[in-house]
């Protein structure tokens, strides 16, 4: 390339020179011809002119050749050599004798070349040294990772895997190589990772440990294995986090702790011996000598009281220590109910167990995931035998101090007499926990069965410890302003349903509750959808297991000021499908369901604008929880989602993520169904009329 550049340059110079010479020749020719014409008939003059022309032309040609020979060639050659030097790896020098007319230039260039070569050599050697050190460190790190009994994954903040060890592969049941740079969420569930990371990054300075590490339990994406582990933030030089390390372990018991427990047991039995002996001696003395003197009797009684008190204290101490030890043996950790329940549902499905549907709003709870899965598996199988049912709902519910796992079925409650028998049944698979009762005791739990609030149904309730994390974290700035209310008459005025739907009971309608996150508030001015979340409601139950959640590439930058509403950044949507892919997926999820959203006109507007682009029609009915709230409580001023949720006693989880908001909206909608029924609105037709009436009233009010 460079070589041909050079050629081009030289020939350009030459051709410019040639054109110049030709022009000069032509000019002199014209001049001389003019001169000849001016002196007609004078032959001598004509001859002179011809000679002059030849002389001038020859002179010009010689000058041209001389210029080319003396200046253009050497400069071009020198340029070529310098360029070659600058590009070549070898240290060659320019021979100054080749350029006699340019004496200092080659020397200067040579000096420069030598310095350049020296600098290059120096930097190459330091790069080589650094690479060697890096390789050594990497080798060392890989060696350490290989020898660890725990699985280790090092990830960037956008959850790409940077480094891992073999144990991680086998824990995650990955066959072959795990591609570096792949998303962690191809392997494990998203929620625990995101929540724990969020918790570490936003950890309040008051939180006990300064260590940037926190326990976590997550599930493999196929919901077959629950893994226990720790997340540690990698903090960069600027003290900002730039990644995290995930250590995952299988449920293995620490022998050292077992030994410690053994010691404790010995200490307890030996420590109790002597106060017992004192007590026995004192009481036997009193019994053998009934007519002992009052002063002596009081003395013995004091001994008995003192020893009894001491025994009590000692027992408390042993109990406390034992509790701490067992806590170590059975490490309890926060688990997301979706992970736990999915794992149980999956196990049962794989082994001809009952069909279990996860319902309700997901919650965090605290427990030993391994033994809980096995215990709940056992409980559900026992329930099949005891009730004759093969379909169950399972839900996590928020109590004052605990989180309840509740299993519901059609039929009668299980009598306590039967339940207490289940407690002693062995759980062969559970490590170190031989019975159901042991697992419950470990979680400080009891179970009981009672009739459900719905007629003809019953529940089995299992209280579990509340999580150590804050169940629902509001954004750091506190509650966010709600979106402006949209009243798009065309979108929200519902066409009365046809006869087949008109009288359909509200509860029997399949609903899809959804929410979107967007780059801004103006869809017609270029704002785009960046996330869609949805959950299905069937027979008045929120099917937590049937959710839709997608990030969408908006095809434009996400304004940073909108990120506080949705916490989605450009980096996060990188690689996400565009709306042309995501919307058809969402349409397929909706199926023949009736759409429900809060302030539905807003979300619907964004979706409707994409109908022609994506070829998807969203012509189904769309109900609005905001309008329903306005119908139910016309006198309340605020009908934003947070306000309504609070009023209806719905716990607000993971707000301002599309799926989180969809789940809250779903919980609100299910409560609203109760309230609507109480007002005599029991059919879809009735709800549509109520909704349209509310809309008309609101629109009229807006006009004044």
């Amino acid at each position: 390339m460079a070589r041909s550049d050079l050629e081009r340059q030289r020939s350009a110079l030459r051709s410019r020179l040639a054109i110049g010479l030709a022009a000069a020749a032509a000019l002199s020719f014209v001049l001389l011809a003019g001169l000849a014409a001016a002196v007609p008939g004078d032959d001598r003059g004509g001859g002179l002119i011809a000679v002059a022309i030849v002389v001038v032309l020859t002179g010009l040609a010689i000058t041209g050749l001389a210029v080319d020979w003396l200046f253009i060639r050497p400069v071009a050659a020198l340029t070529a050599e310098i360029r070659f030097l600058s590009e070549a790896a070898r240290d060659t020098e320019i021979e100054p004798a080749h350029y006699p007319g340019y004496a200092p230039l080659p020397q200067v260039v040579n000096a420069l070349t030598r310095r350049l070569a020296a600098a290059k050599a120096k930097s190459e050697s330091s790069v080589a040294a650094a690479t060697r050190r890096l390789d050594e460190q990497k080798g060392l790190l890989e060696g350490i990772l290989r020898d660890l009994s725990e699985g280790v994954l090092v990830c960037s903040l956008d959850h790409r895997i940077l480094l891992y060890n073999q144990v991680a592969l086998s824990l995650l049941a990955v066959a072959g190589e795990l591609g570096l740079g792949r998303s962690l969420f191809n392997l494990v569930t998203r929620e625990p990772v995101l929540h724990t990371l969020d918790r570490l990054i936003h950890r309040a300075p008051t939180e006990a440990s300064g260590e940037p590490t926190a326990p976590l339990v997550c599930a493999t994406v196929d919901a077959r294995t629950l893994l226990r582990g720790r997340m540690t933030l990698i903090v960069g030089g600027n003290s900002l986090p730039n990644g995290y390390i995930l250590t995952l372990s299988d449920v293995t018991r620490d022998i050292a702790e077992l030994n410690q427990r053994d010691r404790l047991l010995r200490a307890a039995t030996e420590g109790l011996r002597s106060p017992l002996a004192n007590l026995r001696a004192a009481s036997e003395t009193l019994a053998s000598f009934p007519d002992i003197g009052p002063a002596e009797r009081r003395e013995f009684e004091r001994v008995i009281a003192r020893e009894a008190e001491g025994l009590g204290h000692r027992l408390e101490a042993v109990d406390r220590e034992n509790r701490e030890l067992t806590a170590g043996l059975w490490p309890l950790a926060d688990i997301h109910s979706v992970d736990l329940l999915n794992c149980i549902i999956r196990r049962l499905a794989d082994t001809n167990g009952p069909a279990v549907t996860m319902v309700g709003v997901p919650l965090w709870l605290h427990g030993d995931s391994h033994s809980l899965v096995i215990a709940l598996d056992k409980l559900l199988r026992n329930l099949v035998n005891a009730t004759g049912q093969s379909r169950f709902d399972i839900e996590a519910l928020l109590g004052d101090r605990r989180v309840y796992v509740e299993v519901a079925w059609e039929g009668a409650p299980i009598p306590e007499a039967a339940l207490s028998n289940w407690l002693g049944e062995p759980l062969p698979e559970a490590l170190g926990a031989p019975t159901l009762g042991d697992v419950l005791a470990r979680h400080g739990s009891e179970m009981w069965s009672r009739p459900a609030t719905a007629a003809q149904r019953a529940v089995l309730r299992l209280p579990l410890p509340a999580p150590t994390r804050i169940q629902f974290r509001l954004p750091p700035e506190g509650p966010l302003p709600a979106r402006p209310q949209f009243y798009d008459f065309d979108l929200m005025h519902l066409t009365p349903p046809d006869r087949s739907l008109e009288n359909r009971p509200l509860r029997s309608v399949p609903y899809v509750v959804f929410d979107t996150e967007t780059t801004g508030l103006n869809p017609s001015q270029g704002d785009e959808i960046i996330a869609i979340g949805a959950v299905r409601i069937v027979n008045g139950r929120i099917l937590t297991g049937e959710t839709f959640g997608r990030l969408v590439h908006p095809g434009r930058p996400i304004p940073p000021e909108s990120a506080r509403f949705h916490n989605i950044t450009d980096a996060m949507v990188e690689g996400a499908p565009p709306i042309g892919v995501a919307l058809p997926q969402f349409r397929a999820f909706v199926g023949d369901g009736v759409l429900v959203a809060h302030n539905a006109a807003f979300d619907l507007k964004f979706i409707k604008l994409k109908e022609s682009e994506t070829g998807q029609r969203f012509a189904m009915m769309a109900l609005d929880t905001m309008l329903i709230s306005m119908f139910l409580y016309p006198d309340f001023g605020d009908h934003n989602l947070d306000g309504i949720a609070r009023r209806l006693g719905v716990e607000v989880t993971g707000r301002h993520s599309a799926l989180g908001d969809a789940l809250v909206t779903a919980a609100v909608f299910v409560r609203q169904l109760d309230l609507l029924e109480a007002r005599g609105i029991t059919t879809l037709g009735g709800l549509v009329r109520a909704s349209n009436m509310t809309l008309d009233i609101r629109l009229r009010q807006e006009q004044f």
Partner: protein, 127 residues
């Protein structure tokens, strides 16, 4: 002269029964004792007491079971039931109340306070 109010004490631990029986008799109640769940159900069948002090942890039928069974019988809802337990966890209290107990007392308890609670639960007619 009103008829003495009757109390059934159900516990498998003879030492504590001895004290409770003594104290309640002192307080003017008619006291019967049952040593396990089945004996308790038989005693209730024989004559309905006004109040039952019911231990949770017993061999065989436990206190929850006894409580649930009594509540499911005709007239069983009228009886006041106080559950006694050696464990003081909130879930047990919650389960006890879910099974139909009126109150829940954790061992060890102050004997005076137990008698006070019995009197309060049985109302002003109590001896």
């Amino acid at each position: 002269m009103t008829k003495k109010q009757s109390i059934l004490v159900v516990d498998d631990e003879p030492n504590i029964v001895l004290s409770i029986e003594f104290l309640l008799k002192q307080a003017g109640f008619d006291v019967r004792v049952a040593r396990d769940g089945d004996a308790a159900l038989a005693a209730v069948e024989e004559s309905t007491p006004d109040l039952i002090l019911l231990d949770v942890m017993m061999p065989g039928r436990n206190g929850y079971d006894v409580c649930q069974t009594i509540r499911s019988r005709p007239g069983g809802k009228r009886i006041k039931i106080i559950m006694l337990t050696a464990r003081s966890r909130d879930v047990e209290q919650e389960k006890g109340l879910a099974m139909g107990a009126d109150e829940y007392v954790t061992k060890p308890f102050s004997t005076r306070e137990l008698v006070e609670r019995v009197k309060r639960l049985l109302g002003p007619a109590a001896a």
